[in-house]
């Protein structure tokens, strides 16, 4: 027990034996891992392996059915207040962008600080403008999502998450719904964030991104972690048959 306590000291995130079921279907069957500040984790695995659900459990968009999640030294409990605070500290980028269609790019980015952190409008919009510039979209500040490409919408979504000054960013297949020729726009922004020291968990099949950015790759299948290690180890010397067969499919695609 004392050893466990020592181990989790200084860890930003500790996921301990997390399970998630939808009805009688168990999607995550006991997953444990932890990560340090500034660490970059890439989650891979075939569809239905539970990787998206796992990421959604971390900020309680899907409350875990069992297990413990400790974030920033605090055990996350299902009391509403804690969950809300947790979500302020964890940014999330979705596969379908989920930008707010009734707001301009600038308003999308400023909304979180305005509503949740009660920042003044002037401050929120000034920072939103900086963040849009950072993701290369200063010239789209007054555009609504309907007038933007998928790549642009996703970059607005990244800026929107960054506006809350998260300690951890979750990316749930951020490039899966984007036209192939625009994917690099989004990946470039993510690489830039990683270079700045952002702690991130990325669900993706982008091998190039994983090789360039990830400190560790976790490979999931059927609700369990079956392999993890540095990208070079997992990609070049996979220990598991299932990892190998998945990687060959991704490489062929």
């Amino acid at each position: 027990m004392a050893g466990d306590m020592m181990m989790s000291q200084g860890k930003l995130l500790v996921v301990d034996d997390v399970h998630k079921s939808f009805g009688s279907l168990e999607v995550i069957k006991g997953v444990s891992f932890d990560m340090d500040c500034k660490e970059r984790l890439v989650l891979m695995g075939p569809s239905g392996s539970g990787k998206s659900t796992l990421v959604r459990c971390i900020n309680w968009i899907e409350p875990p059915s069992a297990g413990r999640i400790t974030f920033d030294g605090k055990l996350v409990e299902s009391g509403k207040y804690d969950i809300r605070r947790l979500r302020e500290d964890i940014g999330m980028v979705f596969q379908q962008f989920n930008v707010f269609p009734h707001l301009t790019a600038l308003q999308n980015v400023a909304l979180g600080p305005l509503v949740v952190k009660k920042t003044t409008r002037k401050e929120a919009e000034a920072e939103a403008m900086e963040l849009l510039a950072k993701v290369g979209l200063a010239h789209r500040a007054d555009y609504k999502p309907g007038q933007m490409s998928g790549g642009e919408q996703q970059r607005v979504a990244i800026a929107r998450a960054l506006a809350m000054h998260p300690k951890l960013m979750l990316f749930d297949e951020p490039t899966s719904s984007i036209d192939v020729e625009l994917i690099h726009e989004v990946l470039d922004v993510m690489v830039k964030l990683a270079d700045e020291g952002m702690t991130m968990i990325v669900v993706t099949h982008e091998m190039g991104f994983a090789k360039e950015v990830a400190d560790r790759v976790i490979f999931m299948d059927q609700g369990l972690i079956i392999e993890s290690g540095s990208p070079s180890r997992v990609f070049e010397h996979p220990q598991q048959e299932r990892t190998l067969s998945f990687l060959s499919k991704v490489l062929l695609a």
Partner: protein
Amino acid sequence: MLKWSIIFDNLPFLLAGAWTTLSLTVVSMIFATVAGLLVGLMNMFGGRVIGAITRVYIEAVRGTPALLLILIVYYALPRIGLNLPMFPAAAVSLAVCYAAYIAEVFRSAVESIPKGQSEAAFSLGMNQAQALRHVILPQTFRRVLPPLANEFAALIKDTSLVAFISMEDLLFKAKIIGARTYNVFSPYIGAAIIYLIMTTPVMQWSRNLEKKVE
């Protein structure tokens, strides 16, 4: 026999009735919309008990004639000491009735917003109320306008039920003219034309809005 002269001679009289119809419609609609929004939200987000209570209200009202509600409020409630003058009684009954329909309009509009929108709001740390106010409801606004305009047109017609409590709306005025002139045909045709003049633009507006939303 249709005699246009009867309609024209009594036009101010009919228009006075139309004014009553229109003001009753507007007042009832305002209350019904506010109440409908609240009932709809309570039904969706109020938890199990409030959700069940509002569901019973919605289904009870939708399953009974509006006329019955008017008769209860105007004739039955005074027996238990709740005495409302004619106009407020009519407005309250119609508002109670239409709030149930409008609650369903709001519910289906909120449910038509993709789940990812509230997930994104929650992921920023918003609570349920903040997500509704800043993300969900602004998006439903455009979607509820066409069905609300439809309800408004339906309400213009349903206000004619207040003739049963002898309120002098457009229909009741037409009835009076009929009794006075021994010609029921002409005043009723006149009333129909005036009803159409009121409802047609509203329905057309609703159709235009629907096209815009699509």
